[in-house]
């Protein structure tokens, strides 16, 4: 079975500062990796995904993530955050062959302060 750990439940950064949200996964095989964002009273929106190839993947709104097989990690980054980035961010994994059934981390609530 696969699992996802997001060690930072709450993160506060100043507007314009850089951001990193950490994600570690546990899986017997290399999973498919995703970052989703959830705004208040909204569903989940896909930010980016990694299936294979270049370990740095670009997503929407300036987000990128880097896959590391040796560290079993898939950290999310953004060079300069905006107040509108305040939301909850979820890392998720999917194991090939199980369809798109996703296992999620507990999420990281990001607050961007002015």
């Amino acid at each position: 079975a696969q699992s996802v750990t997001q060690p930072d439940a709450r993160v506060t950064v100043s507007e314009g500062a850089s951001l990193q949200l950490r994600c570690k996964y546990s899986s017997s095989v290399t999973p498919y990796l995703f970052w989703y964002v959830q705004y208040p009273r909204q569903g989940l929106q896909l930010l980016l995904k990694y299936y294979s190839g270049d370990p740095v993947v670009q997503g929407v709104n300036g987000f990128e993530a880097e896959f590391s097989k040796s560290n079993s990690s898939f950290h999310l980054r953004k060079a300069s955050v905006h107040w509108s980035d305040s939301a909850v961010y979820f890392c998720a994994v999917s194991i090939q062959g199980t369809g798109s059934k996703l296992s999620f981390g507990k999420g990281a609530k990001l607050t961007v302060s002015p």
């Binding site: 498919y32 989703y36 009273r41 909204q42 569903g43 989940l44 929106q45 896909l46 995904k49 299936y51 979820f90 998720a92 999917s94 090939q96 199980t98 369809g99 798109s100 059934k101 996703l102 296992s103 999620f104 981390g105 507990k106 999420g107």
Partner: protein, 114 residues
Amino acid sequence: NAGVIQTPRHKVTGKGQEATLWCEPISGHSAVFWYRQTIVQGLEFLTYFRNQAPIDDSGMPKERFSAQMPNQSHSTLKIQSTQPQDSAVYLCASSLTGANTEVFFGKGTRLTVV
């Protein structure tokens, strides 16, 4: 494309009553998923249909919960004899195929059992 549509957005039921939640997947999507979101447990997978057939219900509580997909345009999640611990946001999602393609989420139904 209206996205995945979930109705109602909010539902309040009395303890012991039945609750039925509805989901309309994106037209043409063959995979439909149900997840439950709570503060304590986070996002939990419940069940998954592909081409209307149940594929994986490993996350469904064995008692009181059932899900159906009578046609390709809607799925229902039914909770019998609701209990306060069933209070959660129930998210429906769909994807084009089950094989690790992008999953699109609805805005969820917030169920409150009083």
